[in-house]
Symmetry: C2
Subunit: 114 residues, 2 copies
């Protein structure tokens, strides 16, 4: 049972997006309830433009999407992307398991004199 890891380009954007505390916090807030960019910006000690950039990074990683509602831009979470990241890391764990089970098998066969 071979585990193949996802394409490299995707993962770059995904992990980069998650590698910032502000962006993870935005993600958490948006998971809890969709919000406009300006509503999000009020929660952080930085400019609106800075928050706008963070949302763009999350967007590039497909973790969120934006939809216009009047003059607002509402940020939605894309849970599939979160699941993709989780599965990506699961793949690393499985790689490890493949290695250890392979070693176990060899040791066992050795023990049984094969």
């Amino acid at each position: 049972m071979v585990v193949d890891l996802p394409r490299e380009g995707e993962a770059d954007a995904l992990f980069h997006a998650l590698a910032d505390a502000t962006r993870r916090d935005i993600l958490t807030r948006v998971i809890t309830a969709e919000q406009s960019v300006s509503a999000l910006a009020r929660h952080y000690p930085m400019s609106f433009a800075a928050v706008q950039k963070h949302v763009t990074v999350l967007e590039r990683a497909a973790l969120v999407t934006k939809h216009k509602r009047g003059r607002e831009q509402v940020v939605h979470v894309n849970l599939d992307a979160v699941r993709r990241a989780t599965r990506l890391l699961d793949a690393y764990e499985q790689l490890w398991r493949q290695r250890t089970t392979a070693i176990d098998r060899i040791l066992k066969e050795d023990r049984e004199g094969k």
Copy 2:
């Protein structure tokens, strides 16, 4: 059941370390079989020093550790860190699930000062 996300500082280093294709590849190789830094370096079209830096980044994230063996520095994987990252993302998924619960509605109203 409330899910608490890990400390921010840890996650920064973890995701940052994973946000580079070369580092993920190093991690994969080391999971498959422990290797010296110079052995790893032979696989990439970059200098030994560059690979050394990548290993340092993985080390800072606690994804790998180094042990001296003669004149070599052997890189080992730390699977616990991989698991920590996986659980971190699982927590986001759980947050999503909590979104529809009554408890989460109450917390949300509280956060909005109602």
